[in-house]
């Protein structure tokens, strides 16, 4: 509830202060944060690390982007395209040069993208989730690298240029996900609405029987098994769920931005997501939410300049050293009083002299 109020307040604030351009980054941050809260459940609650989440994000974004832009006109007469047309998933239109275009409808592309990401997570998860700790991190890192190289090398996915001119994604009631300036406020609410709904779902999950089982796996798989928890099944389910969250974020952000590039699939992106979850405090859904929005917003505003990735690397080191439970769990009051007491003492020393 306070979160909904805050979301509305921020929108009105940008309206009054005539800083509406911030809404664009806030919308993008909300989508990135969707991935981050999904990763937070996987890492913080179930205790399984993934350094391949940018890969799932890219699978979502790229598949949805490619299906809605790649012209099928050349295959118009092929039986499979005719079959798809019969299902009503094909839309015809014109590209910006006025040429005839025949592509898959966004809703269908979105479904295909999310289901593909879920399936890949499932197939990948069965063998790699048997691994623990560093080994799991390595395996998921390898997966991320593979996805990165695939989108970079494949002509279908636009090689180094990525995919551009991705169309708007019409939702219900005339709303559509697009980066069009006229719909900036609507899109801010679409993104935040989606994020809040997903937060509620995840919060329900961690407070339930399934959530307790996940947390027990984090502590001790042996003990969880002896209590009747099917640990391998639960790990697989949460891995797929978390990958689906990443893919949903990828789909929406690609339609919002109107494109996606290979940097979205990069390993540094995965490292960044892990860093943000760590800053938020691993097993801290709200921490992940706040840090996801704040850090992504700063990064998207270009506050860190060309040192973007370096800043996230540094954050990861500092957090691990000084606040392994996340900065929200630090005792700020105690630290501040300590700091003030120290400076007060120094003043006294000065007076004695």
């Amino acid at each position: 509830m306070p979160l909904i109020a805050l979301v509305i307040f921020v929108q009105l604030l940008t309206d009054w202060t005539d800083t509406k351009f911030y809404l664009t980054q806030l919308t993008m941050s909300a989508y990135y944060t969707l991935l981050i809260v999904g990763l937070c459940i996987l890492m913080g609650y179930a205790g399984q690390i993934s350094l391949g989440h940018a890969g799932f994000f890219a699978i979502g974004g790229y598949i949805s982007g490619a299906l809605t832009t790649r012209n099928l006109l050349a295959f118009e007469k092929s039986s499979s395209v005719e079959f798809l047309d019969g299902l009503g998933v094909i839309v015809r239109g014109q590209d910006i040069y006025g040429e005839a275009l025949m592509v898959i409808a966004p809703w269908a592309a979105c479904l295909v993208a999310i289901i593909t990401a879920g399936l890949i997570a499932w197939i990948l998860g069965i063998p790699v989730l048997k691994l623990k700790g560093h080994y799991l991190a390595m395996a998921t890192l390898g997966f991320g690298v593979i996805i990165y190289r695939i989108v970079l090398a494949s002509e279908y996915f636009g090689e180094a240029d990525g995919i551009s001119e991705v169309p708007a994604f019409p939702l219900f009631g005339g709303l559509e996900v697009s980066g069009d300036f006229g719909t900036r406020v609507e899109n801010y609410y679409i993104a935040w609405g989606l994020l809040i709904v997903c937060m509620v779902l995840l919060r329900n999950l961690i407070q339930s029987r399934a959530g307790r089982a996940l947390r027990s796996i984090h502590s001790s798989e042996d003990a969880a098994e002896s209590m009747g928890v099917n640990t391998s099944r639960y790990k697989l389910q949460i891995f797929v769920l978390s990958a689906v969250f990443a893919a949903v974020a990828g789909v929406f952000l690609t339609h919002y931005n109107g494109g996606i590039g290979p940097s979205e699939a990069g390993v540094m992106k995965s490292v960044r997501y892990v860093a943000i979850v760590a800053v938020g405090g691993m097993a801290h859904l709200w921490g992940a939410l706040i840090m996801g929005v704040v850090l992504n917003f700063l990064s998207l505003r270009g506050v860190f300049g060309s040192y973007d990735d370096a800043v996230f690397g540094a954050i990861l080191i500092l957090i691990m050293l000084f606040a392994p439970n996340g900065i929200l769990s630090l005792n700020w009051k105690e630290m501040l009083t300590k700091l003030f007491r120290q400076s007060g003492r120094e003043q006294n020393v000065g007076r004695d002299r």
């Binding site: 339930s208 307790r212 001790s220 098994e225 209590m227 009747g228 097993a283």
Partner: protein, 251 residues
């Protein structure tokens, strides 16, 4: 037919035979103890029965069903609960939450039902909580329900682990050195708790070093040495058994 029948059970780690051709059975309602010097293979035997480790040879039959080769969580769902020698409570969770996990096999809410907070899960959640509190009250630690489990004193942590195992409503309970690390008062308390568990019609199989506890509570004792069974009898007879005395005290 006995509740638990172990027949020709063996486990090799490379060339080492940790457990070798061990057979015995546990009758329903009995309290049976497994004793033996350090390294006799007692904990390995437990891990074989509960499915934590796969057996190299032999069979385990529980309630008329073969359970060797099954995974731990499947065996737990059939009504076998256990505790661990080095307490394995779930950290970052309260005492109550720890015990609530014990209700896992007695409830069914899955991922989607939980995420969408389906009405029927509310009722289930309530009954999980209610039953768990009941068990905490029975064991006299309900005042710690909302304390983080791993912050309790060692003896109390053992009781919480026992509560978690009982929440599963097991037909048989396997206790791996329940008195390890406890002082004589706490050990006596564990002895009383085991008596109360028997009153709930739960069969108990325990591994224990503390001889006074074993002699007090058990109906029958199995003695292991270097992975092999060397004796099986009532406590009074075990105390008189020459070979057992030799194993424990040397020639």
């Amino acid at each position: 037919m006995a509740l638990l029948e172990i027949s020709g059970l063996g486990k090799s780690f490379g060339g080492l035979r940790a457990v070798n051709d061990v057979s015995f059975s546990v009758e329903e309602g009995a309290i049976k103890a497994v004793i033996g010097p350090n390294g006799a293979g007692k904990t390995t035997l437990f891990n074989l029965i509960t499915g934590t480790l796969p057996a190299t040879t032999g069979t385990v039959t529980f309630n008329g069903k073969r359970i060797d080769g099954k995974r731990s969580h499947q065996i737990a769902a059939l009504g076998m609960a256990r505790t661990f020698q080095n307490i394995k409570l779930f950290h970052d969770m309260t005492v109550l939450e720890n015990v609530m996990i014990g209700r896992h096999t007695r409830s069914s809410a899955g991922f989607l039902a939980s995420m969408f907070h389906m009405p029927w899960t509310w009722k289930e959640e309530k009954s999980i909580r209610h039953k768990s509190m009941e068990i905490l009250e029975m064991l006299g630690i309900s005042e710690h329900a909302d304390t983080e489990a791993t912050s309790l004193a060692f003896g109390q942590q053992r009781t919480v682990e026992l509560a978690r195992a009982l929440a599963l409503e097991p037909t048989i309970l396997l206790l791996d050195e329940p008195a390890a690390g406890l002082n004589i008062y706490e050990t006596a308390e564990i002895g009383r708790l085991i008596g109360r568990i028997r009153a709930l019609d739960v069969t108990v199989l325990l591994v224990e070093h503390d001889m006074s506890l074993v002699m007090d509570v058990s109906d029958e004792i199995v003695v292991l040495s270097f992975g092999e069974k060397i004796a099986e009898d009532v406590p009074a007879a075990i105390q008189q058994n020459d070979e057992v005395v030799k194993v424990y005290l040397g020639e």
